[in-house]
Amino acid sequence: MTDATNSGAQAPKTSLIAHDARTKKRNSAEKRFRAYGVTAIGIGLFFLTVLFYSILKSGLPAFTTTVLSVEFTMTQEQYDEAEGTMLKTAKYQGFFNDGLAAQLAETGVEVEYDAKTIERIAGKTGNLIRAHYQENPNTIGSPVTFDLPTSSRVNRYINGEFTKDEVEDSRFLEAADLDLVDVMLASGTIRTVFDWNFITGKDSGVDNPGGAGIGASVIGSFFMMLVVLVLSLPIGVAASIYLEEFAPKNRWTDLIEVNISNLAAVPSIVFGILGLAVFIQFMHLPQSAPLVGGLVLTLMTLPTIIISTRASLKAVPPSIRDAALGIGASKMQAVFHHVLPLAMPGILTGTIIGLAQALGETAPLLLIGMVGFVAREYPEGFIQGFVEPNSAMPAQIYTWASRADAGFYEKAWGGIIVLLAFLLTMNIIAIILRRRFERRW
């Protein structure tokens, strides 16, 4: 006691206002660390901004399309005449061109063009027109407004991807055609409209990027996610509960634990080849089917769900288990009445993150034939949704990106926007669920 008092008296008095050297050093270290942190976040935000900007810039045009809109009346005589000839669609195309010419004349267009020009701008229109009248024969004789999609080159020209001077005349497009396009744009005959077909439509062939939609592959992804959710959530949660709460801690469970952690790090393409070998070659499940995709992605998602579920079970304080057991609850009652509800937010978050990961996974789908499959049809029903060949969003994006026509490139970017929108929605759902469950306590 006395010693301490003495040494304290001998030490020089320090002021609280003047910082000593150690304090200064500590403070500057703290400042430096904060600066690092702010820089790191800044860099992150910068790249995020660049990413979003480039995605939106390249992808947004995929959501719009340019249409040639023509009001046109088909008389009964014209219909009968067209149906009576051999080259029916050519006849319809002729009628359409006449209608268009009349409309252009009304607006006082003075550009030279011929039927070929129209064909280069709007493609072969006869088919679409004939299809319309066959389906709606009652519209014969009354005016109908046709919104016919323009060709992908015209579309890209209108989106400003190239200028008139850059056009090399070819059988697809001539520079002179663009004069007509400009005029029609000015007169409103060619309009830019929101392309619902991109969101709800099916994939088109390799030569028609304008008609390609991501809808069918969204359905494919949906069925896949359904399989993943229905299989991996119960299996994963049950496995975690068993491992965490019931299994004895011995060498075997240690081994299982290590293996699960390792599985989470296995490259997804390995799961793909496993799926190919087991589900398709051995079990003879159909190729390119969302069912198989879902099974493969389930294998991939399980470790993620198990790891996050176990972590959230571990985070529940043991005193809660003691409390339940102490008043005579069985182990299962303790787990299901008390531990699981507390772990729920963590489990749900883990599950949704696992699903989001699975939603964006492309590599395993390569091997089971979902990449490259042209999803031209919607599944016919719920069961067919699982077993009929389909594509999935990331697979569709990959397919589009690898097609030659530059129009598909834009579609691929648009597909990425749709995919990101789904991921964002899932993350928001995860946050909402977590909030909701946490608030209950």
Partner: protein, 265 residues
Amino acid sequence: MNDMRLIDRAVDMKDIKIAARDVQVYYGDNHAIKDVNVDIADKTVTAFIGPSGCGKSTFLRSLNRMNDTIDICRVEGNILLDGEDIYDKQVDPVQLRAKVGMVFQKPNPFPKSIYDNVAYGPRIHGLAKNKADLDEIVEKALRRGAIWDEVKDRLDKPGTGLSGGQQQRLCIARAVATEPEVLLMDEPCSALDPIATAQVEELIDELRENYSVVIVTHSMQQAARVSQKTAFFHLGNLVEYGETGQIFTNPVDPRTESYITGRIG
């Protein structure tokens, strides 16, 4: 205390509720409880005292098989509840724990409403026939936990929102709601202020009318105040066991004496 109760007490003391014979508890290689023999009487408060780490909690937890939840823990010897070996293979620990309730050192209410905390035990054991029955059980338990007046207007509020002392009394109410025959309490007052401690001690004294209560405590005064019997543990051994008055005034073993007078522990 009236004469009637003194007589009761004398009779009750003869009933042995729990009998432990040559009990050994191991945590892996750590021999935590060595050769413990003790008879815990019915309708009596028995206090376990001893320095930290001597095995009081361990022994207490082996009385309702809470040690089963610890993988490395092994119990040998016999512990008889009303003459039946609780470590018998046919015994369901769940049934045992319904009879031998436990209050833990740290208050651990469920993160549910106050009502649900207390009602949980009666619900899973099917003690209430209907809602009115359950309400009655809950009220009675909360009254016995000396907390009814504080919470009667907020039964639907979370139990975790109470103060530490209130939480502990809620846990006591929760434990008595299942009508156990034995109540084990591991340092129930370590988180409580003197007023709440006094309330809990009063409660323990009341519980004695119906139950056998075993309480672990670090407070000599508390042991002296509430218990009739005291067991002194040291390094895993039961050094001395006897009437509380005798242990505190006239201990046989020198280790007991030095602990009580504050020389070890």
